[in-house]
Symmetry: C2
Subunit: 191 residues, 2 copies
DNA sequence: CACGGCTAGCTAACGACACTAGCTTTAAGG
DNA sequence: CCTTAAAGCTAGTGTCGTTAGCTAGCCGTG
């Protein structure tokens, strides 16, 4: 019996890809083992439990997402940064729905959980992006939460196939980002 | 052995309440049977499978949510209707997180699925609410999707405990609704 | 009031799943 | 070449969803 040469990182990567293929909720140790050409119990040499595996997928997803947003918003500001960042996040979720689902399903175990750090990097990107709008410091947290809410909501609704007429979802997305952008730009002009 | 007097409706109601208590993902046939004072296999006299049960919870949730939003927006228009409807949805989700999670996890089986009708009633309420803003018909679908996206995103993020500093989540919610309201009211004033 | 059929609820059992125990064998390092 | 950590295996356990088949409570009819 030749060795398969597995590592925790490889197991995580393959399970993330499998989750993207069949859906995070359908992921099982048996299917993962089959895809890796190995029997189920062998996985426990690299991963302590399914919860541990899910956690690793979540960290991977949040890290990749943070990188994607950072790369997209790099060198841009204001409207440009918002549009580029939002599209980057949306396309990441469309391409990796299983990973993203894992990222939202898993709860951090504590303050020093790498998942917290990864999620913090995503938030930091949005926060940096908002600086371009010169928002009143007291309103920054609310604007940040709104951006996060909108993008998360759109991503999950679309990943779940919840938009009936999905022909012009792209148009709706653009419209929505434009709506938010316009609102942010005119935040200080309110009477 | 005296009979418990179960019905599909009662089983659904109790399972929904249980899901709200322990979380939708933690719901199991065994726990439900225990709460009903019955052995697990007895449930299958009233419900064909766990998938069937989840579907019934989802229909119940969407129906209740549609009623709550309709009642809250009744007799109101524009900003008032948006604020009242949004708060009604938010408080429903806070009060019944398990039900709402079921409503989002379950896929409709077909076009005549009662779940589709219930979800349609929710959408109809948002649509009626938007009429008060006199939005250009070509943009209505986008505005509708945005409202849905924002409320769904906020509800799920908060239900998952994803807002770190949850002290002023209520303030953020109000701020966000106000932001959306302002944007909708000035939609026609864009240059 | 008796009785017959429907069915709610039960026990027993199966398959799928996550996981553990313990063995064998691989392969890396002295 | 030989020792040793560990990768992968087989076998087995507990839990969960689900089915089969029996028993007994309830409702309608005679």
């Amino acid at each position: 019996m030749p060795r398969a040469g597995l590592t925790p990182a490889l197991v995580t990567e393959v399970s993330a890809a499998l989750a993207d293929d069949i859906g995070f909720s359908q992921l099982s140790m048996g299917l993962l083992a089959e895809r890796l050409g190995v029997k189920t119990p062998s996985l426990y040499k690299h991963v302590t439990s399914q919860a541990d595996l899910n956690h690793r997928i979540a960290v991977l997803a949040m890290t990749e997402l943070a990188d994607a947003i950072r790369d997209a918003t790099q060198g841009r500001a204001g409207s440009d940064a918002l549009i580029a960042g939002a599209r980057a996040m949306w396309s990441y979720v469309k391409e990796h729905p299983g990973r993203y689902a894992a990222g939202n399903a898993v709860r951090p175990t504590g303050p020093d959980d790498p998942l917290v750090a990864a999620a913090g990097r995503v938030l930091a990107s949005w926060s940096a992006m908002l600086h371009g709008y010169r928002i009143d410091p007291g309103q920054e947290i609310h604007a940040l939460r709104m951006v996060r809410t909108v993008l998360h909501g759109f991503a999950t609704l679309e990943a779940a196939g919840n938009f009936r007429i999905d022909a012009d979802v792209d148009v709706s997305f653009t419209w929505m980002i434009d709506f938010i952008d316009h609102g942010l730009r005119t935040l200080n002009d309110r009477h």
